[in-house]
Each structure stands twice: as C-alpha cells, then as structure tokens.
C-alpha cells in the first residue's frame, strides 16, 4: 500500500497533465466530431509562446501566463474552429482526421519558424503564480514532490473544478453536456451547435495551453517531438473514458501517470524488457484498449445508424475522357514516359537522377497508401513501420551477401506482408475469438479507431522491435548495397523506376479487378457486401498484407538507396503520418497522386533549400495542404485532372455551338477561340525557351538568362496579355459586369507603382532603376487586380442573366495571384537572380542548370497564367454564345468552385 501511495504521489502530476489534454480531446470530439490529434501541437504552441514571452521577452510571469494560456490558446482554438472545423461537422471521419493530422505536422513547424529551431531549455515554472517557491520541495509523508509537480496537480484540480462548475451551473455548460450525450437531439431542441462547438474549441484549446505550460518544466525541454507523443498518452486516457466520459478520462490520465511511475519498480530499469516497455507504455495501453475492449470499437455504430454506410466514391477523372482524348493519352503517355526515361539516362545530372530515384522509391511506399486508403477507404498511420519491416528484413538477409539484392527486396516485401496479415488477424481475429467465447459478437476495428491502432502499433514497433539488436544489429544499423548491375546512379534509377512501374500497374490492375470492386463494396457497406457473398475477413487480410507488402518493398528500396538501414533514423514512425497526409491530400485513389506526392516531398524541400528558405516551410505547406482535403476528398491531383478534362469537354461543346452559330451567321463578334488568345500569350515564353535551348546547343554551354533576351521574347507577350486584360475587362464591364471595375484597375496600377517604389527604396531589387521598378510594378498591379476582377465581372453577368451556374468564379484568381506574389518574392531575392544568370559549361552545371528553381517557378507561372487566360476567355465566350439551349454537362454544377455566388 505504501508503495502504491508513493506511485500515486509521484505519478499523479504527469497524469494530471495527460488528463487535461485528454479532457480537451473528448470535449471537441463530442461537440464537433473532430478527433483533434493536433492538441499536442496546440499545447506545444502555447508552451512556446509562454517561453518566448517570459524567457526571451522578459515579460512578468503572470503576463506571459495570461497571454499564452488565457489569450493565445483560446484564440487558437477559436481560429481553428471558425476557419476550419466548423465547416466539417458533416464531413467524413477521414476528412476530420486528415485535417487534424495536417495541423499536427504544421503547427510545431510554424512555431519553430517563428521562435527558432532549437528546443527551449529549462522552461519556466508557473509555481510562483500560486505563491509556491519554484525550488520548494513538498514532503508528503516521506515522499517528495517538487514545486513544478505540485503546481501541475493544483492547476489541474482548479481546471477540473471550474469545468465542473461550468457544466453544472451555466447554460453553455449544460448545452455542452447535452451535445456530448446526443448532438442530434440538442440540435432538434434548437441549440446553436456552432456556438457550442466554438465554445468547446476555445475551452479545450485553453486546457491544451495550460497542459503545454505545465508540462514544459516537467520535461525540462520545450521540444515539438516530445509534445507530439503526448497526444498518444492523452488518447489512451480518453479511451479509458470511451471518448465520452470526462470523469473516466481524468481517471485514465491519472492511471497512465501512475502507471509510468510504477513501471520501473515493477519491470526494472535496465533489462531489455524494461527498455522495451517503459517508452512504449502509453502506446501499449492505447493499442490494448482499442483491440481488447469491445465496447470501445462499438462507439462508431451507436452514434449514427448510417455510420457504416458511405456513398460510393465519385468516378475517376479518366472516366470522363472521350474517345479522342483516350487515344491521345495512349500515344502521349508512352512518348512522355519514354522521353522522361531517356532524359534521366542521358542528360539529367547524376544528383538529380538520385533525387528523382529517391522520389520513385518513396512513391512505391505511397502506392501502399493508394491501396489501403484509396481502395480500402481506411487510413493507416503505420506505413512507415511496414516499410521498416521490409527494410530491415531485406537488410538482414542481404547483409552477408548470400542472398541476391533483388531476392532480398522481395523477401522484405513478403515479411512486411506477413506482418500486415498478422496485424489484422490480431486486431480482428483475437477479439472475435474472445467474443465467440463470451458469446458476444465483436465489431471489426475500422475508421478512426483503426487509424489510432495503426499509429499505436507503429510507435510500438519503433520503440520495441526495430531497436532490438537482433533486428537492427546494434547502434549503427545494417549496411546494404544495391544489386551489382545497379551500382551506378542511372542504372539504379532504371531498376527503381521499373519496380515502381510494375507496382503501379499492379495497383491499377487490382483497382479495376475483382479485389478492387470487392473493396469498393466493402467500404460502402460491410453488411451489404456480406449479403452478396463478399468475405470481409479474407478481404481485410488481403488489403493489409498487400498494402504492407508494397510498403515493405518501398522500404527496402529506400534502405538500398541510403546504403544502410538504421533503427531510428531511416523509417521514423511519424513519417507515416506525413506520408499519409501528403498522399491523401494529393490523391489517394490514383497512381498519379502517389507519384506527385513523392516527387513533391523530395523536390519541394530542395526547391526551398535552393532558394535559401527554411525547408520546414515545406512541412508546413504539406500540413496546411491537408486542409484542402475537406474540399477535395478525391485529392488535388485528381481534382485538377477532372477539372481539366471537364474544361476540355466544355470547350468542345462551346466550339461546336460556335460553329453552329457561325454557319447561320449569328456568331457574335466578341467570340474569340481560346487557342488564339493562348497562343499569343504563350508565344513569348515558348520562343524564349526555344532560343535558350538552341543557343545552348550551339554554344555547348548553358546560356545566361539575359534581361535583353527576356525583353525581346517575353515582354511583347506580356504587353499583349495586359492589353487583353484591359480590353476584356472593358467589354465585360459594359456587358453588365461590375460598374466601377475600372477604378479597381487604376487602384491596382497605383498600388503596383507604389510597390515598385518600395522595392527600389528598400533595396530589395539587386539591380535596375526606380523607373524600371515602377514600370514593372504598374502592370503587375493591374494584372493582380485583373485576376479577380474579370471572373467577378463574368460571374455578375451570369447572375444577371439568371443562370444557375456561373462559367467562372473569382476564386479562379487566387492561384495566379499567389504565384505572382511568390514569383515577385523570389525574383527579388538577389541570390536567386544571381543563380539564374550564372553561366557555365554543361560539365560544370549539368542538367538542370544551377538556376533550376527560377526555371521551375517560371514554368509553373507560365502554366498557371495560361490556364487562367484560357479559363477567362472560355467564360467570356460562354457568355457570348451561351444561354438558352446551351446545356452544360451535369458534373459542372457539382463542382463547388463553379457554384454561383450571389
């Protein structure tokens, strides 16, 4: 008993902090439906703000506390609710989870960007705020407890009491309790669910902030990685309360804290078992609860009778293609791929070959997400762990050189597949057996709880399995070499690319085949699928083992590319989270999505590196990019592909109608074929690129990006484009657009001129006079306004005509405007400009040349610019010849961005 009291006294403080975060988690989960995995990131952000204000800015302790916990934290919660989660109340669990995961990644990086990368040492304690000397030690019956720990307990008690009072005596509290019990009933009673959700977000964020500030001195370090793992303990605590009960959640937190304290006394501190179990205790608890507590997994079905029935996913973009486009693709695709491989095998520099090869190795892992999420409809956060199983298995069998590398890769994939199958047998089979023994059916682990189980499994595998000497062969890991025939960079690329191609075709084949259709049926409704004879158990085994096997194959390739597999650095478990967020954001259902995600993951980091920007911006971008998933659950790549295909179809219909009108002589004079305008806009950049290539080929070295050359080739196109904007704007304005649109353009010109002057006066421009700056600023300002103004005009005209769908939305201007700003920022960075103008021989620079970021961004700018021009001209044409009798395809009306704005 005495020992238990000791554990309780010494473990309770940490348990209290776990409980605080867990209570916040439960509050928002039940009131907004969002399982906010980013709570730990919010706690870290508040802790960092507190550290910054008190330590670095020397604010008084109380002021730092008030600002970070009572102002910053609720505001962060408010921001997240108002800007994001309020729009997701009816969204699927995948959308909410991915958005939360995106925040989990982005927020800590954002904090580091603002406050510096180094973890804060010796964070301040808030003990003095309640009159406790920071160095005081409390003696509780012979057990010592420090001021920091006592403070954690006191603040938790205060928070819980206040929470209880609020729940008991305030109307908001009552509403929140009611929402926790039954959100639908509460809404039927006329309660503003949005308001309740907002309050709970602010409240829970405050709790996270308080936890962040309390925890920092206990950890002694303010580090994002440490905080990230806090969320697992909080989830485990919340699981004790079945994600519903706040009192039991509090108990769960205490249990974890006390358990962590008791463990070393029970299992020891230096045995192999202790080394395994102590760091993974919260993961073990969470995994155990999810797998062995049937009531927990039944949560999803009790809340909503339709929770297991999802509508079938929308058709793939390529299914919208017409016969001509399909034929074109059949020709263009092999030519493009052949050209790509040819370039990689000849002209692309070895460094870039390596970078892109890394991307394709990663893309193989990403295809496992395509299988699991795209086909299976589930989200696994354990893909990095499966990749690690494959990588370590490959390395172990290949290490002695007795097994050829290719065979070792396959063995790695097989081992990972077996682990995947065992995993599903464990989480499904074992509980089912127990359920049968207890004569009680058990629901399969799926949805959010499956994702949490995979996360817990991945972290356990990292802490327990991959650190074992038998697996990773000690602290240095295992050295592996590529196959004999693929020692060179280009040969290695060819091998990886070939493996990727095989896996990609396999994925497509599976998607189109029986298994894919069965999985599609299963994700729609397990009961309905079972009623037509689909065996869900065997399909789940196939899904897990296939996905894990592909991840294992990719893991083997990653290990070979690096030349070694290390226990912690090669496949960190949290990479699995980054990967899933990235793939799902770009498109989990297609191979394109996986490839784009992998290339983006590799190349964007290098782009920022080359531009002299912090590479953490890339992670922030990936994290916040996940927010787009709510709007485009099919993924950005798939969305853009579908949009392009539909736009092409729309263009063909317009053209056909224009021909009809032309034949009858009724074609309005305002109609201009889109390609006429595009050609003139594109002519300059195309000629410029042609000039660069030809001149480079003739001279045998990369030709400088010279301002005169730019003036001759690109400026005429820009002048034409500017003229086109002005003429079109005037025409639209006169046809019923925004009456004072001209003033906006003038305003844009003035702001642009001022911007040019600002750049010059602040010496942000490496060269050029003030007149140059102003002359560039004016058209840039006009164009920036035009990006939004022209679509607004068109939208207004369509609205005036009573059209149900507008041909274009002002949102169309966001992308070119964003790139205009980004381009301006980059071009005015002298280092980049210098790099772009560097000359040298092919031998010195290779391909791509040293100024590749500028080339890449210029190319993207041109594409974005041309796309915008084409869309606006298409809308103008539609307004000119559309109207009665013009029937757009049904899908157009379903595109959110095309919705008419009133």
């Amino acid at each position: 008993m005495a020992q238990f009291i000791q554990w309780l006294i010494e473990g309770a403080p940490i348990g209290c902090v776990y409980a605080l975060v867990a209570v916040g988690l439960v509050l928002t989960y039940k009131t907004s439906g969002v399982f906010n995995l980013a709570f730990s990131a919010q706690a870290f952000a508040s802790g960092a703000v507190f550290y910054q204000t008190v330590i670095n800015n020397k604010w008084p302790l109380w002021l730092g506390f008030v600002f970070s916990v009572l102002i910053f934290s609720p505001l962060l919660g408010l921001l997240l609710d108002r800007a994001l989660f309020r729009y997701m109340r009816t969204a699927s669990w995948q959308v909410k989870l991915i958005t939360a995961l995106g925040l989990l990644l982005a927020l800590p990086e954002l904090v580091r960007l603002f406050f510096g990368a180094q973890p804060g040492e010796a964070p301040p304690s808030i003990a003095p705020l309640i009159g406790i000397d920071q160095l005081k030690v409390f003696n509780l019956g012979g057990y010592f407890i420090s001021a920091d720990r006592m403070t954690a307990v006191i603040f938790t008690v205060i928070a819980v009491v206040l929470l209880g009072l609020m729940f008991r005596f305030t109307s908001v509290g009552l509403q929140m309790r009611a929402v926790v019990e039954s959100p639908r009933m509460v809404e039927l009673a006329g309660v503003d669910a949005d308001r309740v959700s907002m309050t709970s977000w602010m409240l829970s964020s405050t709790l996270a902030g308080l936890a962040g500030v309390l925890l920092a001195p206990l950890y002694f370090v303010l580090d994002g990685n440490v905080y990230t793992l806090l969320i697992i303990a909080a989830i485990a605590a919340a699981a004790v309360g079945r994600f519903v009960s706040i009192p039991f959640t509090l108990l769960g937190g205490l249990f974890l804290g006390v358990g962590e304290r008791a463990l070393p006394d029970i299992v020891g501190t230096s045995s192999s078992f202790a080394q395994d179990i102590r760091p993974s205790f919260p993961f073990l608890v969470l995994f155990g609860l999810l797998v062995f507590w049937p009531k927990l997994r039944e949560q999803r079905v009790v809340s909503d009778p339709l929770s297991g029935v999802d509508p079938p996913p929308p058709a793939m973009a390529h299914e919208y293609k017409d016969a001509n486009m399909v034929r074109m693709t059949r020709i263009a695709f092999p030519v493009f791929m052949g050209g790509f491989v040819l370039l990689m095998m000849t002209v692309v520099s070895p460094l870039w070959v390596t970078r892109l090869t890394d991307a394709f190795a990663l893309a193989v892992v990403f295809l496992s997400i395509t299988i699991f999420t795209g086909l299976g409809g589930q989200i696994s956060l354990a893909q990095a762990a499966f990749a690690a199983f494959g990588g370590f298995a490959m390395a172990n069998v290949a290490e002695d050189g007795n097994v050829p590398a290719l065979i070792a890769l396959l063995i790695g994939a097989l081992v990972a597949a077996i682990v995947g199958a065992l995993f599903v047998l464990f989480i499904d089979g074992l509980p089912a057996l127990i359920g049968r023994w207890r004569r009680r059916p058990v629901v399969r682990l799926a949805g959010l709880y499956l994702s949490l189980a995979t996360l817990a499994f991945a972290l356990m595998a990292e802490k327990v399995i991959f650190r074992r000497e038998e697996i990773s062969r000690g602290e240095y890991g295992i050295a592996v070499s590529r196959p004999e025939f693929a020692q060179g960079d280009r040969e290695w690329f060819l091998l990886v690319f070939a493996i990727f191609a095989v896996v990609a075709f396999m994925v497509i084949f599976i998607r189109k085949g029986t298994v894919g259709r069965y999985l599609s049926a299963l994700r729609g409704s397990e009961s309905a699928a079972a009623s037509i004879g689909i065996n869900a158990t065997s399909l789940r085994i196939i899904l897990f083992s296939l996905s894990a096997g592909i991840a294992g194959l990719g893991g083997g390739l990653i290990g070979m590319a690096q030349g070694q597999v290390e226990p912690t650095a090669t496949y960190p478990a949290l990479f699995g989270v980054v990967w899933v967020v990235l793939v799902v954001t770009l498109g989990a259902r297609t191979v394109d999505g996986a490839v784009n995600a992998a290339i983006g993951f590799v190349v964007i980091q290098w782009l920022f590196e080359a531009l002299g920007l912090p590479t953490t911006i890339a992670i922030i971008g990936f994290g916040f990019g996940a927010i787009t998933y709510a709007r485009h659950p099919e993924g950005i790549v798939e969305f853009q592909t579908r949009r392009s295909i539909l736009a092409a179809a729309r263009g063909r219909m317009l053209k056909s109608r224009a021909n009809e009108l032309s034949n009858t002589g009724d074609l309005p004079s305002t109609y201009r074929p889109v390609w006429h305008v595009v050609l003139l806009v594109l002519a300059g950049p195309a000629l410029y690129l042609f000039y660069i290539l030809i001149r480079s080929a003739v001279q045998g070295h990369w030709v400088a990006v010279h301002s005169t050359t730019l003036l001759v080739f690109v400026v005429p196109s820009l002048i034409f484009a500017l003229g086109w904007i002005l003429v079109t704007e005037r025409r639209l304005r006169k046809s019923g657009g925004l009456a004072n649109g001209g003033f906006f353009l003038i305003g844009g010109a003035v702001v642009g001129a001022l911007g040019g002057w600002l750049f010059y006066s602040q010496s942000w421009v490496p060269r050029g006079s003030i007149s140059d700056c102003v002359l560039v600023g004016i058209p840039a300002g006009v164009a920036a306004v035009g990006f939004f103004l022209l679509p607004v005009h068109a939208n207004r005209i369509a609205l005036g005509r009573g059209w149900l769908a507008s041909p274009i939305s002002w949102l169309e201007g966001r992308t070119p405007f964003g790139f205009l700003l980004f381009g301006a920022f980059l071009f005015f960075r002298s280092s980049v400009t210098d790099a772009s103008s560097a000359t040298g021989s092919f031998i010195d620079h290779g391909f791509p040349p040293s100024g590749w970021p500028v080339f890449l961004i210029t190319a993207i700018l041109v594409v974005v610019w041309v796309q915008w021009v084409a869309r606006v001209q298409g809308a103008v044409n539609e307004l000119a010849i559309g109207g009665e009798g013009f029937e757009p395809p049904e899908e157009w009306a379903t595109q959110p961005s095309e919705a008419i704005e009133s």
Binding site: I14, A117, A122, Q275, T346, L351, R473, E566, S841
Partner: protein, 449 residues
C-alpha cells in the same frame, strides 16, 4: 501528329545524347578559382538532443576570417558557400552531401555537423576532403566495418583501421561508443567515489555508451549501484532512480545523455534532498549552460577532448578561437570549436599540399601529419597512423563546476590533458601522464604508435 512527335523525340534524343556525352567528361579542381577556394558544410539544426550543431559553421567562418585577413591561402580567399540542412535523416544527409559536391561544386566539405552521416561513403568514394564533428560510425566506414573494429578492440586487438581516409573528424575518425570509457571511472577514482549510478536513453547509441561506461566501472572497481537504461528522450519520470540513488548511497552519477536529460535527474535528486551526488555528463560544457544554471551545476564534471577554456597558459589555438568568438559576439561551444579545428586542419592540409594542390594532395598531406594539435587545442593527432583508427592513448581534460564556474581539474599547470595508454589498457588509474609534454618529458611507449 505522330510523325511530328517522332521527329521531336529523335531530335531530343540526339541533342540530349550529345549533352550527355559532354556531361560525362571530367573536371579539374572543383571549387577553386584564382581568387577563392569554395567549401560547403551541412548540419542538423533540428537535432533531437538539442545539441547546437549549427554552431560548427561559426567556428569555420571565424577561422576562415582569420586566414583571409592574412591574405588567404596562396592568395585565395576561403569561402564557406553553403550551409545545408540535412534534416537529421540519412537520406537528407546523402542528398545534402551530393548537392555540395555536384551542385555547389565545393572543393572540400566542412563542417559536417550531424549525428547521421550517411553521405560519408559517397564523399569517401569521390575523394573529397571532408571535415566535421565525429559522432557517427560513418566517419570510419560502414556500420559492419565499425562493428567489426569494435569487436576487435573488445578482443584486445587495436590494429584495425578505417577505410575512409579522406574523412577527418575533429577528434579522429573512429569513435567507439561501446569501448570502456576511462573518463568517468577516472573522475570517480580521483574523488574517491566507490558507488556509482548510470543513466542512459533507450536510443541505441546511448545504450552503447552505457555499455562502455559499465565496462569501465567494472574494470576499475567502482560498484554500479543503480542503472537505468530505459529512459526516453524528454522523459518526465525519473523518480524511481532518484529513490534508488538515495537508498543505495550512490556518490557519483554518470550519464550517457544530453545535458538536459542529466540535469533533469540532478534536479530530481536535489528535490529529494540529495545534494552531495557528483555528476558526469558527456555533453554540456559551454558558456551558455553555466550562465543559465550557475551554482546548480556545482559538483558536476565534464571530460573534454580539448584544452579547457578556463585553464591558464592557454595555447595559441585556444586563445585565437576564444578571441574570434568574442569578436563575433558568440558564446564558445564544443561544436563551434570543432568547426574551428576542422578549418584549421583543412588549411594546414592546403598549405602542406603546395600551391598546385588537388583534393588528393590535400588528403595525402593531412594523412602525413603526425602531430596535429590545432595550435595546442587538442592532444596530438597522428593522422599517419591512428587518426583513422582506434586510439592508442586516452587523453582528456577535466573540468568541475565550482561555485557556478568551470574549474579545470586533475591536470597539471599548462598540461590539462590527463592521459593513459589505451593499448594495452592500464591496470589501474593511478599513474597517468600529462599532455602537452614538457621539454624532456616522454610519453610511455604505446603499442599502436
């Protein structure tokens, strides 16, 4: 249309094949012009253990400034043109290393400040002179080669050597985590401690370090009263250890942790009313820690591989380094000093290689150095013999925190390095010799030297 595409592909193929042939041609002295010698380095700014790796760049830049003010080397200025971030991952490290060599076209790579130097094999294969902060087996060879060397040492065989002879760590290119570490045992012996405790993380390198310390404690008769190797970085729970230390009367705690982890344990002890336990931490000797924690660190010991900054009669190298850091307004740190030592070795190598230096000649020149000390900052490094292999002697300087200040310990005036032969191991720790040797003094004959 098809014909057009076919023609375009053919043209591209011919054009690019020509370019490809050009690409395959060789190059001269990369990164060297009439006016400058370009080098580039990398670090892990987000190192997990909060080690300030990025400080290495300060050391290199400071040393280059000193040299450039004197006219550079052969009239060429030294320029650190790239400071890349390897993101702390092996793949990031490989890509950063290749970017330095293939994109930035540097002549040499320095400093490499990371705990996962997976790009080492690439740099070695390309013969690029590389300098950095050695905390990883990749400075020596593959993981298997490193493990084999450690196994040989465990068997008493010190004859092995590293394969990567173009890589130069600031304390030699071979580091043996699991070898018996003399420093903590020596401190315990000097202070008369008989009961020790050991704390380490579950991270493999930390556990290997703990193995080395255990061996040392056993070898020199210090009772290991308590051992905790099951802590995780950022741990919040060390009460069990605190209680055990108190109960078992431990006098000395050795850690294989970053400074923060070790300090957290010491705080726990203080809070439990245990104030007389001495601490040994392998990391944390920097001005910033003493400024921040002052007397809270009293009775802490650090072992250093370089001349202590507080010792009297500082050698020229230490004086110059401290002066340069002061001028730049930077607090001295082990990492920035490592960068300084790296830059010093590189410049010495350039000078020794002659005016028409190449990468290979610089490497050869350095590998002929028998007594490199960076102006007295470090014990002599013999790059011709054991710089790329197991040490033949174990030399360390010691400091203790007394009244909130670092105070050199155990050495002699002007001779702060306390040395023992490492091959064969000393029977006891009673009879050290001291470096730098004074005129007339001789070191014992070392088997590997």
């Amino acid at each position: 249309m098809r014909r057009f595409i076919a023609v375009m592909v053919a043209i591209s193929a011919v054009g690019f094949a020509t370019v490809g042939m050009a690409d395959a041609q060789g190059a001269g002295r990369p990164g060297v012009t009439d006016k400058e010698i370009k080098v580039g380095g990398l670090s892990s700014p987000l190192s997990l253990l909060s080690t300030p790796y990025v400080n290495g760049f300060d050391g290199v830049n400071a040393y280059f400034d000193v040299i450039n003010k004197k006219g550079g080397v052969y009239g060429k200025k030294l320029k650190l043109v790239a400071q890349l971030d390897d993101l702390g991952s092996p793949s990031g490290n490989i890509r950063a290393v290749r970017s330095l060599v293939e994109e930035k076209k540097v002549f040499a790579v320095l400093p490499v400040m990371t705990n996962s130097f997976a790009g080492g094999s690439y740099l070695a294969s390309k013969g690029v002179p590389t300098f950095g902060y050695n905390v990883d087996v990749n400075w020596c060879g593959t993981s298997a080669e490193g493990a084999a060397l450690e196994a040989k040492i465990a068997d008493g065989d010190f004859t092995g050597s590293c394969n990567r002879t173009t890589l130069f760590g600031e304390k030699g290119s071979f580091i043996c985590f699991s070898c018996a570490a003399i420093a903590p045992a020596y401190i315990a012996k000097q202070k008369g401690y008989t009961k020790g405790a050991l704390f380490a993380y579950t991270a493999v390198a930390s556990r290997a370090c703990a193995e080395g310390m255990k061996k040392s404690f056993e070898e020199f008769g210090i009772d290991m009263a308590y051992e905790d190797t099951s802590l995780e970085f950022g741990f919040s729970e060390a009460n069990a250890g605190v209680q055990a230390i108190k109960d078992k009367g431990v006098q000395f705690v050795a850690t294989c942790m970053d400074f923060g982890g070790a300090f957290k344990i010491s705080q726990g002890l203080h809070q439990a009313g245990v104030n007389d336990v001495a601490f040994y931490a392998p990391e944390g000797y920097r001005d910033s820690t003493i400024k921040k924690y002052g007397a809270q660190l009293d009775n802490w010991f650090f072992s250093l591989g370089f001349f202590p900054w507080q010792a009297k009669n500082q050698p020229a190298g230490t004086k110059a380094y401290l002066k340069a850091m002061k001028q730049r307004g930077i607090s001295p740190s082990e990492q920035s000093q490592a960068g300084w030592i790296n830059a010093n070795l590189f410049v010495d190598g350039l000078k020794a290689a002659g005016k028409d230096f190449t990468r290979q000649s610089v490497v050869d020149a350095i590998n002929s150095f028998t007594d490199f000390t960076a102006g007295g900052m470090v014990p002599p490094q013999d790059w011709s013999k054991n710089g790329h292999g197991p040490d033949v002697e174990a030399c360390a300087a010691y400091v203790e925190v007394v009244k909130g200040k670092f105070v050199p310990r155990f050495g002699k005036p002007s001779q702060p390095f306390v040395c023992f032969p490492d091959n064969p191991r000393p029977a006891n720790l009673n009879d050290p010799y001291y470096r730098p040797l004074k005129a007339g003094e001789t070191a014992p004959t070392l088997a590997g030297s």
